[in-house]
Amino acid sequence: MKRIICYWILLFTLHSCTEKKLPVLGNYSIKNGDTIFNQIPDFNLWTQDSMPFTSQMLENKIHVAAFFFTSCPTICPKVMRNMMRIEEKFSKEKDVLYLCYSLDFKKDSIPRLKEYASKLGIENSNFYFLQGRQKEDIRSLMNAYMSIAVDDPDSPGGINHSGWILLIDGKKNLRSYCLGTDEKETDKLIKDIQTLLHERD
């Protein structure tokens, strides 16, 4: 009996020592006995500085992503405010990237993204505003980010889209997300980023 109690105590202490891990989110499939998790697909995009940005650059980094467009009058300014709050918290972490994918292929040229970034006073070289060569380059990524966008002339700015801020790990798996318009939710995501950074150590 004593042995069993000791065993249980040991188990509990061990359990409390193990660190909290974030789940992997999204649909998964099983192939040959291995679980294939939802993963950000390969892509080739361009940054606000006209530099190529490929999905390879996400490997072994953590990235925080949001979908936006520069003339978006409703949710994007709030999402951007919270993205910048996150960046302030982790500005010294070299392995955290910030990706803002533009949904407005027509208006958001690279110079326009550059201007937007400089007006926001973005200095962190890990903070990217991304545009594709075709509209589909970015729209095709949204499924993996569990986000949607629909061109809708009746909605403010012409594009109706979700306002999540998403957290992706170094294997390009989605690990957490929050409503990017909400300050308190963003605070929770900040905690999740800390958890994910610990996981890597």
């Binding site: 003339s71 949710i75 300014p77 951007m80 400089s118 007006k119 926001l120 006073g121 403010p156 700015g157």
Partner: protein, 128 residues
């Protein structure tokens, strides 16, 4: 008939200028239409969206502000380096009056509140 018209005008005029309810609607309009970009604290967002606190900024642009709220600021008539602003054509002149008086009560603290007449006159003379 004229009496009714006249009294509605007076009621609107009074509700726009003196009633404390003014700021309630103004606050609501601010939160629904303006706070997304200009912030709940009205402090703007870096160089992208201007803060609405500065009385000098307000005085320089007083006559144009109602037009900006109603028609927005398009890239075409934009001063260099500024962000465009969306139009809010659905805002009535009363709502515009109320939101400006709300902003005034918090930020600019000018003694003379906006009147509906002034707003209507400004809206008539909008350039775009």
């Amino acid at each position: 008939m004229n009496v009714i018209r006249f009294s509605t005008f007076i009621i609107l005029f009074i509700s726009c200028t003196f009633s404390p309810e003014t700021y309630k609607e103004g606050k609501q309009v601010y939160e629904n239409y303006c706070s997304g970009c200009h912030g709940i604290q009205m402090d703007g967002l870096k160089d992208l969206y201007p803060p609405l606190k500065d009385v000098n900024w307000y005085e320089q642009n007083r006559n144009q502000i109602p037009c900006w709220l109603k028609n927005g600021i398009t890239l075409r008539n934009l001063r260099l380096g500024k962000q465009e602003m969306p139009a809010h054509t659905e805002l009535s002149s009363i709502q515009i009056c109320n939101v400006l008086n709300y902003l005034n009560s918090i930020n600019w603290k000018l003694k003379s509140p906006f009147t509906l007449e002034e707003i209507n006159l400004n809206l008539k003379n909008c350039s775009n």
